[in-house]
Symmetry: C2
Subunit: 298 residues, 2 copies
């Protein structure tokens, strides 16, 4: 196992542990048991945990001085991502029957508990941040602002989802809000958690990776099969949603993906772990692409 | 105009101003305009603003040293209350056609924007807290914990709403989570914002007032007409929800209300503005009751 793989595995374990600790706080005696079950179901087992891994990788590259702070930020970001998936899958939006290879939360627990599970996960994210940043109280305000901007109005993921309800929308605005915002929060929060002097310098990395991830998702929606993906495919066309493949074609979208990953790697600010982070991001990004296209590119 | 009325009016104005400032932050150019409109519609014009007024009254009684902190806490609590109303009114829950005398958010903007408006309001609440408490960063962590506990799992208003999805539920557990939690947060947050040494001493005041408010709401659901109330009546019976009137009868529920208000007033901890606060709460509580019953009692 090489160095990067070892770091990767350690990060992945840390994320699961911190998510488990956060979710455990919601399960005290006296809680409504079905909502508690729905909340756990929405978080475990997880997907690729791309956002929290990115957050921790950036904090690590910045030589973080208090790992608990980055762990809390990473967990908060993943909880918010899980919340958005639960609400996006609701009957009034995508009406997705499956997610991460199992029934979506509203199919498994009903629509009411899906609405409440999403709400509870949003609250839990901010609570997890406050609890985890207790050792560095001066970082809580900036981290709360970074995370809330990425999720709320006017340009966070909630805004991204709302663009699906507007008659006119530009692909870039839509993707920036729907996916880019939380990726940008992951990098900026990672740097902030680590005490990096100008955390805003990390925004471009997150934005480029977020758009690359979205382009890869659009490609996956077209070329993958549903079993591999764990959710239905071909949904963008059915739902008339903006898609890089629809706008740029299959080859154009792949070119855009490559351009974004290169821009991401080049944007990494000077920091102690810059070389390792570049290698990690190049390796990780290749996993974004659907297997069919990755094989074709190889 | 007597002293208490003057304080009341000043508090009410401060609340509207701070809510307006918070909501304005969501309306930057480039935001999805229909979601922005739905969010504003959900907050203005408001209801009685009982929770934020309680928060500010407690902070005031504690001789707050930094009013901006209490203002932020009060606004955050009201935004969370508005969020809960939007989601509680959704078709999968109460399917309420009206709220505060106008169409509910999902009737006016559609179900998708109602889900997103609720989400955005939750996020805005935590953002408002972080923004407003910047002058006293050591108070942000405690305030975030107080507010998030009141809203999330295991015992906040989300849990209270989830009890409606469980087969068995006790009236006290249900009311404590659904209404009491946010009232308790209002008093404890008000004291915390003001730098009161043992803010937990203020919990009983909030819990008693929260239960009193819920009992009054149950009474209102039975005796008021829908025009006066601004929302449909008789819903508890239709939806089979727990209700103090169903459990205790009309007279028993009124007795319970009187007992709770007396307990609330007696629980106020020693503080500089104790006498004024006692008078204020006695006066305010009488307004909770439906006009028919208040007239009968007079």
């Amino acid at each position: 196992m090489d160095g990067i793989t070892r770091v990767e595995k350690a990060l992945a374990m840390a994320i699961e542990q911190h998510l488990a600790a956060a979710v455990a706080h919601t399960e005290a005696p006296g809680c409504p048991p079905r909502l508690a079950a729905a909340l756990r179901y929405a978080v475990f087992p997880g997907g690729a945990r791309v956002r929290p891994r990115l957050c921790l990788a950036v904090a690590c590259a910045c030589n973080e001085d208090d790992p608990g702070v980055a762990d809390a930020a990473a967990a908060a970001i993943e909880l918010l991502h899980c919340a958005s998936l639960v609400h996006d899958d609701l009957p009034c939006f995508d009406d997705a029957a499956t997610r991460r290879g199992k029934p979506s939360v509203h199919r498994a627990f009903g629509e009411r508990l899906a609405v409440l599970a999403g709400d509870a996960l949003i609250v839990l994210a901010f609570q997890t941040l406050a609890r985890g940043v207790a050792s560095a109280p001066h970082r809580l305000g900036p981290l709360t602002m970074i995370v809330s901007r990425a999720v709320g109005m006017p340009t966070g993921i909630v805004a991204g989802q709302a663009w699906e309800c507007e008659p006119h929308v530009g692909l870039a605005d839509y993707q920036r809000a729907k996916t880019g915002a939380l990726f940008a929060a992951a990098t900026v929060a990672g740097a902030t958690a680590a005490g990096f002097q100008e955390p805003g310098l990390w925004r471009t990395l997150g934005e480029c990776l977020g758009e690359a991830f979205q382009v890869a998702d659009d490609l996956r929606d077209v070329v993958s099969d549903a079993t591999e993906l764990g959710k239905p495919t071909g949904r963008d066309a059915v739902l008339g949603r903006p898609s890089a493949v629809r706008d740029l074609g299959l080859v154009g979208a792949q070119d855009r993906f490559e351009y974004l990953v290169t821009s991401a790697v080049e944007s990494i600010p000077p920091c102690p772990g810059r070389d390792d982070l570049r290698a990690l991001i190049t390796m990780e990004s290749s996993r974004f692409l659907p297997k069919e296209l990755a094989r074709r590119a190889a």
